[in-house]
């Protein structure tokens, strides 16, 4: 399936960038590998106002990578390129980071790793009731308000 907004090259670049933004660690998958780039493409399709910043950040990363493609750089060079873009174009870069987090933390696989087995509704959660005995000390404080 082709992307809606991003070109194949942009999608590949975004995937490589996302693997650095949210890298794999212990049991957590990396964002790019999880397919977060496609989800971000969907956000850009639904909310055109995001495109300028996210596409701008991608172009800036591409430029910061220099002669070689970003994905072909070594780890340290990739991180250095991203840090440069963050310093030079913080707004655009942070929008890209935000959309990556959006895609990552709404993915059921990531949620499962964090112990979330279902959305909040319809089941909600069972929590213990309040025991009024807990207010005993405070009740004993006497009137604390000023009459007026």
């Amino acid at each position: 399936m082709t992307a809606q907004v991003l070109t194949a090259a942009e999608l590949a670049l975004l995937t490589a960038v996302q693997d650095e933004l949210v890298p794999a660690a212990r049991s957590m998958p990396a964002a790019g590998a999880l397919g977060a780039a496609r989800a971000v493409d969907g956000y850009l399709a639904a909310r055109p106002e995001l495109r300028r910043a996210v596409l701008g950040a991608l172009r800036a990363v591409d430029a910061a990578a220099g002669a070689r493609p970003f994905a072909a750089l070594g780890r340290n060079q990739r991180l250095a390129a991203l840090r440069r873009v963050e310093a030079d174009a913080p707004y655009d870069f942070h929008e890209l980071v935000r959309q990556t987090y959006n895609a990552y933390y709404t993915h059921p696989q990531v949620q499962a790793k964090l112990g979330i087995d279902r959305p909040p509704q319809p089941r909600g959660y069972e929590l213990p009731p309040f025991d009024p005995q807990r207010t005993a000390r405070v009740r004993g404080m006497g009137k604390l308000w000023r009459d007026a």
Binding site: E20, L21, N102, P119, F130, P132, V138, R146
Partner: protein, 538 residues
């Protein structure tokens, strides 16, 4: 039919907390009431709570900032001159459609700020004048909580018991007990047991701030509107009011509005009641220019739009080594500490604040900055950062009394308009000196509390910009027409058949969430208007 020459006896603008309560009250006595509301009914199926991406709704469809959300029913607000962003919902039920439902009352001293503390102004009414309407409102909407708080005057038994008490509450109470400070399980406009029709008790799902799909939140569209409609009120949705019209004598005659098809219409009424909130109401008045009111309706004294108050807020979050799972359970102010509520000038400021326990958010909002005000770091440290905080954090919201200042205000923006070409409001707001001092002190007390509770790390967002939940003061109540817009009944000093009943009437802000007081005021004003309709309409 009290005034057959008019389309309605009473025209209400805005169907939110205040407009809904007034519509219910006024229609009880048989008055013909119409409410014009620019928004629409939100269908429960639109809520995101049953989807894994529910947290995204905070940034998109159910964002609390209309400039972010951009529903067709929203109007833009120019907030360039404001360190706090005004937040609201434009729909049937107004801003109570997605809110937190924290429902404390003001204290008696809050109505006597000048007499007691030499600051700002006294209200033209007392706590005791309002008390029966607080009680009536609670009985109408359904409140959870516990009577008996020594920090407040005695009150009637709450309709449903206090909300759940989980590990987050345990942590908060542990700190407070250790310090020996006041605390109490707060009143919430959120039912914990069966109450009302078609509503389910809270099932602790968590994200109240993106709406409540089960009707547990006592929001105006589930509390007052079904009853008001059953009493015959006409609610016109997608009706954006452009201006209130006046006759040659300067009396209100009705409203010009755009209907759902974009047609410009006039609705005439014997009495006009404004309930468009602390930003929408002054906007409407300032835009209602006539020969009699060249600076906007009821604004010959120049007070409309001035004295804008928010409650300046810091979020102070404690990260705990143990799991507290505070993302579960209602998000709002569950427990209140009012240890520092009344004035003690040795602290370097007048008036006071409360420390509210708020629950917390899911992993996405944790990563996008809900706790610390900025994005979680990317790269190698990312997972450790998010995972040490998500499910481990409890947040204290500092709720400060904001004193009225004339320079903090709502005006009309010279360029920005809504989709109908109506001038958009612009807010100018900066923190006064008293608030700045109080905020610093409150943050230190919140730290002390979290420390006592056993937090291993404390995160501070020292002034939350997206915290303009409470829009107050811009058509203030008072006895002096040179310093206020309306009297104690919400009746405009300069226009006797025009009433303002929403948050803009607040003379001072107190240090508690305003909506129980907004609705009590709306009920009191509507009660007076219902009993004195002939005089008001004459």
């Amino acid at each position: 039919m009290a005034s057959p020459a008019f389309d309605s006896d009473v025209l209400i603008v805005g169907s939110g907390a205040a407009g809904a309560a007034a519509a219910w009250s006024l229609s009880r006595g048989g008055l013909r009431v119409t409410c014009l509301e620019q928004g629409r009914w939100i269908d429960p199926s639109e809520y995101a709570h049953a989807r894994p991406d529910y947290e995204l709704a905070r940034q998109t469809t159910f964002a609390k900032n209309p400039n972010t959300r951009r529903w067709p029913e929203d109007y833009p607000v120019h907030t360039g001159g404001s360190v706090i962003e005004p937040l609201m919902v434009n729909a049937v039920g107004g801003s109570t459609v997605h809110w937190s439902g924290h429902f404390p009352r003001m204290r008696p001293s809050d109505f006597r700020v000048r007499s007691l503390d030499g600051a700002a102004d006294d209200w033209p009414l007392t706590y005791w004048d309002l008390e029966p309407f607080y009680d009536l409102n609670d009985a109408n909407v359904g409140v959870s909580g516990l009577a008996g708080d020594p920090g407040n005057p005695p009150r009637s038994p709450r309709q449903t018991p206090p909300l759940a008490f989980d590990a987050a509450c345990e942590a908060y109470a542990r700190g407070l007990e250790k310090l020996g400070w006041h605390w109490w399980p707060s009143d919430n406009a959120l039912i914990s047991a069966p109450f009302g029709q078609g509503r389910q008790p809270c099932n602790a799902c968590g994200p109240c701030d993106i709406g409540c799909p089960i009707g547990a939140m006592s929001s105006a569209h589930v509390t007052y509107w079904p009853r008001a409609l059953a009493q015959g009120v006409t609610l016109v949705t997608h009706a954006r009011v452009e201006q209130i019209t006046v006759d040659r004598a300067g009396r209100a005659t009705g409203a010009l509005y755009y209907d759902a098809d974009g047609a410009r219409r006039h609705h005439s009424a014997a009495v006009v009641v404004l309930a468009a909130n602390g930003v929408g109401t002054p906007r409407l008045l300032l835009n209602s220019v006539s020969a009699q009111f060249p600076h906007g309706l009821a604004n010959n004294a120049g007070v409309v739009g001035t004295n804008l108050m928010f409650h300046p807020v810091a979020f102070v979050s404690g990260v705990f080594p143990q799991v507290v799972n505070a993302q579960r359970g209602p998000i709002g102010g569950l427990m209140n500490c009012q240890e520092f509520y009344e004035t003690d000038t040795s602290r370097g400021f007048v008036r006071g604040f409360e420390l509210q326990l708020s629950r917390n958010v899911g992993p996405l909002s944790t990563a996008t900055g809900a706790l610390q005000g900025e994005l979680a770091p990317w790269g190698g440290g990312h997972h450790a950062f998010v995972q040490s905080r998500y499910a481990h954090t409890v947040t204290i919201t500092t709720m400060l009394e904001d004193l009225p200042e004339a320079e903090n205000r709502v005006t009309l923006d010279p360029d920005l308009t809504d989709d109908h070409g109506i001038p958009a409001p612009r807010t100018a707001y900066r923190l006064g000196q008293n608030s700045e001092r109080m905020l610093g002190f409150a943050i230190e007390r919140a730290r002390e509390l979290l420390d006592a509770a056993g937090a291993s790390e404390i995160l501070v967002d020292p002034l939350v910009s997206e915290a303009g939940w409470h829009l107050m003061g811009t058509c203030r109540m008072g006895a002096d027409p040179a310093r206020s817009v309306v009297d104690q009944w919400g009746r405009a000093h300069e226009c006797p058949n025009l009433f303002v009943i929403d948050g803009s009437t607040f003379t001072t802000s107190a240090a508690v969430n305003p909506t129980s007081t907004i609705q009590a005021i709306a009920l009191r004003c509507a009660d007076w208007l219902g009993r004195n309709f002939a005089e008001a309409a004459a």
